[in-house]
């Protein structure tokens, strides 16, 4: 009974309908494309002229707010790759699935993309919970996932490439900077009550106490979707910390920053460093509420290097002049390009070959400047500190050197 009962004619048609919806366009060029069987020995869905990839983000539900940027960036990258002739002479076709901000749906759609549609790679997920839900499916079906979000680390899977920063890259350099420039000694840690804030604050606390010899005067968590932060603000005023270290997410994030401003904790009176506010979030919070505060990210839209200028222009051309690009959106943009380089270096779409060819790959045209894939499937990248202004953009004040990714940091467990 283990063998598959029958060829799935019906699901192929469903895949085609979804493919018709896909946005990929561009003229396929028939350069000397290598024969399909040589570059696809594991039954992936590849023809002489096309290769299918999956895109698995939340287009609906509470996470749609954050994931729309990633969807747009990945589609822009694929469109540009197709214009430049695709990969190994094949145009990339996207099968888009909606995770609907619901983790079991992510797992269900991931299995559909890998088992039914046999896509060559998947660009998707945003929250840690969605990644954890699909991880067993990718490892069992030997699929390939490019995961864009900065996250808590503590994971290193053969089938996943993490194009966002892991916790230590984002936290440690940021804390060092704020301690040095502001002479900060006392910190108040705040976060939404789930895995990423709790784990990141654990690393931050260890770094503050052991390395910076500072003091953590308070640590508070509020349920996801919480909207009343008055008591917390009063508690903070009681402790008068040098810096508030904030990792609040989603709808609560907007309420938190608005209520901070309303309680008089503007940048002049209280230094706040956050790792959960990008240009996307500032769109919802409103520039006037973020003026003067600091974010530690690896990418800001205002980075002035030629790669970024071209990327921002292309993004605005496709998605409207007041579109904004945040850290995760840029990291998502890297996904397709890194996959392209790995496939071309490996000369094949087979997942194992692509994974083997990825380490040490350098992407010099990255909007954030330069990234290199580390054998642990994360990226060497720089950390930047941006100060927000009224218009909703951030001025980059500091740029660290290249930081090695270390998902299992010793001494911070």
């Amino acid at each position: 009974m283990s063998s598959n009962f029958n060829k799935d004619r019906r699901t192929l048609s469903a895949g085609l309908i979804a493919f018709a919806v896909a946005a990929a366009i561009g003229t396929p060029s028939f350069a000397a494309a290598p024969a399909t069987k040589t570059i696809n020995t594991t039954g992936l869905k590849i023809t002489d002229t096309e290769v299918y990839v999956g895109q698995l983000h939340s287009a609906t539900g509470t996470m749609a707010i954050s994931e729309t940027g990633s969807i747009q960036a990945e589609q822009l990258a694929i469109e540009q790759i197709n214009k430049a002739g695709g990969i190994l002479g094949r145009q990339i076709r996207i099968i888009q699935e909606d995770g609907a901000s619901d983790w079991p749906t992510f797992a269900e759609k991931a299995r559909k993309l890998l088992v039914n549609d046999k896509v060559a790679a998947v660009f998707g997920c945003w929250t840690s919970a969605s990644r954890k839900a699909v991880l067993p499916v990718f490892e069992k079906e030997n699929g390939l996932l490019y995961y864009p979000t900065f996250y808590e680390g503590l994971e290193q899977s053969k089938n996943v490439f993490y194009t966002g920063q892991e916790a230590t890259q984002q936290i440690i350099a940021g804390l060092d900077w704020i301690a040095k420039t502001k002479g900060a000694k006392s910190f108040y840690l705040v976060g939404s009550d789930y895995i990423w804030p709790r784990t990141s604050n654990k690393i931050a606390r260890k770094h503050i106490e052991n390395v910076l010899k500072g003091k953590v005067v308070g640590e508070e968590y509020y349920p996801l979707g919480h909207t009343q932060f008055g008591s917390l603000i009063n508690k903070i005023k009681l402790k008068k910390p040098d810096v508030i270290y904030s990792i609040v997410v989603g709808g609560s994030n907007v309420a938190w920053w608005k209520q901070l401003k309303a309680a008089g904790l503007t940048a002049e009176k209280q230094t706040i460093l956050t790792i959960s506010v990008t240009e996307d979030e500032v769109l919802g919070i409103g520039g006037e509420n973020m003026v003067g505060h600091y974010s530690a990210m690896k990418y800001f839209q205002s980075l002035d290097n030629p790669n970024n200028k071209a990327f921002v222009a292309a993004f605005k051309a496709k998605y409207g002049k007041d579109a904004v690009i945040g850290d995760v959106t840029q990291a998502a943009y890297l996904g397709p390009w890194l996959w392209k380089m790995a496939v071309e270096k490996a000369g094949s779409f087979d997942v194992d070959k692509v994974v083997a060819a990825s380490p040490e790959l350098e992407f010099k045209a990255a909007p954030e400047g330069y990234v290199k894939i580390h054998p642990n499937h994360h990226l060497w990248s720089k950390l930047r500190i941006g100060q927000w202004d009224k218009s909703g953009q951030a001025k980059v004040l500091y740029e660290s050197g290249l930081i090695v990714p270390d998902p299992f940091p010793k001494g911070y467990q």
Partner: protein
């Protein structure tokens, strides 16, 4: 219509046989393994729907917290599978091997006491039923003895769902938090993710569901079933015929909770992970909607309702990723507005009409009263 075996009327048995045929023969032939596994997932929601038919359709008790019992059943099974998947060998890179990964992150060095018993599978099977059953019993006693009912009870069950979600997400050291318990691999060494396991689990789920239908049919066919119907419309008359109405509501609420718990455990086995996203307010309301679409007073209707709504959700979201929410919202409104008794209601009306037409031809006209379902008992 002479009752076959006491509690099964002839057309009931036919209905169950048709369902069994569809689940055990038609679907496995038609669908590939991936879609079949999806159907298996939908069937786990059908357990909750059957429970809701008992406690809401017949007993008049609407619970907006079935996700709590579905989740508890699922978490018990997940704890067992997680312990088996976290043996010292495969977790050697952790600072304390032998314990689940999320505990290691949260600086737990030893397995908490309430996890210990879940090493044994028999304990898990018992706990899977008893813990949700006990919680439902306590809530039932607390609420029904004090005559809390109708909309108040619904809102309170919703609050309990909200509380349990906050607790599970907050105590991530013990429960895996918002990520839930993932990477469940084997049950007593048997790899539950292999294709053969998926088939076996699918058929196990169908068999248990059909067993559940017989149990529900037995309960509704017995005097208790008549009492539930009587209670839903004339609760006072039942109370003044010498029955402690609260006792019956507690029983039917606890039974519905156990049905949901079995569904939850089967979900964990078939999908391979369990997370708080099944325990919250939204999933609990969706479970009520499966029953409403199928027909709240018909066990088979509720099962078909679960299958149809979930299949529609997958199909719409696959082909119209932008607009599927519109279809789902429209479907719920249409069900409530145009066929209040759900699909089963539509079928019932037609069957009565067909039945009469058939008998007219055969010359034996005898009106068979359909069970009117619509009186809202606003206790």
């Amino acid at each position: 219509m002479k009752a076959v075996g006491g509690f099964l009327r002839k057309h009931d048995l036919a209905g169950i046989l048709v369902l069994a045929a569809i689940l055990l023969v038609v679907l496995p032939l038609m669908l590939d393994l991936f879609r079949l596994n999806l159907v298996g997932k939908y069937l786990t929601y059908a357990f909750v729907a059957v429970g809701l038919v008992l406690c809401w359709g017949y007993g008049g008790v609407l619970s907006l917290g079935q996700g709590v019992f579905f989740g508890l059943g699922g978490y018990c099974m997940a704890m067992f599978l997680k312990l088996e998947a976290s043996d010292p060998a495969s977790t050697k890179i952790q600072s304390t091997p032998g314990i689940p990964d999320f505990m290691d992150w949260n600086q737990l060095t030893a397995l908490p006491w309430f996890w210990q018993p879940f090493h044994s599978f028999t304990f898990t099977l018992l706990a899977m039923l008893l813990i949700p059953g006990l919680l439902a019993f306590v809530i039932g006693i607390a609420m029904f003895k004090r005559r809390v009912g109708g909309v108040y009870f619904a809102i309170i069950t919703q609050v309990i769902a909200a509380i349990l979600t906050i607790l599970i997400i907050g105590q991530q050291g013990y429960t895996g938090g918002v990520n839930g318990m993932t990477d469940l691999k084997t049950l007593h060494g048997w790899d539950i993710r292999s294709d053969s396991a998926r088939y076996l689990l699918y058929f196990l789920c169908c068999a248990l569901l059909i067993g559940g239908v017989f149990l529900a049919r037995y309960v509704l066919g017995s005097k208790l079933g008549k009492l539930l119907l009587a209670m839903r419309d004339k609760e006072e008359r039942v109370r003044f015929s010498g029955y402690d109405v609260a006792e019956f509501k507690v029983f039917v609420f606890t039974l519905a909770a156990m049905f949901s718990a079995v569904g939850g455990a089967l979900f964990t086995l078939q999908v391979g992970f369990m997370s708080p996203s099944f325990v919250g307010i939204v999933p609990s309301i969706e479970m009520v909607i499966f029953t409403a679409v199928g027909g709240r007073a018909s066990i088979l209707g509720a099962i078909y309702g679960s299958l149809l709504v979930n299949w529609a959700k997958t199909f719409f979201s696959e082909s119209f990723p932008q607009l599927w929410l519109l279809f789902m919202g429209g479907l719920f409104i249409a069900v409530v507005m145009f066929f209040p008794n759900g699909l089963a209601g539509v079928l019932e009306q037609h069957r009565v009409r067909i039945g009469e037409w058939w008998r007219k031809c055969a010359g034996r006209l005898r009106p068979t009263p359909a069970v009117p379902l619509q009186r809202e008992n606003h206790s």
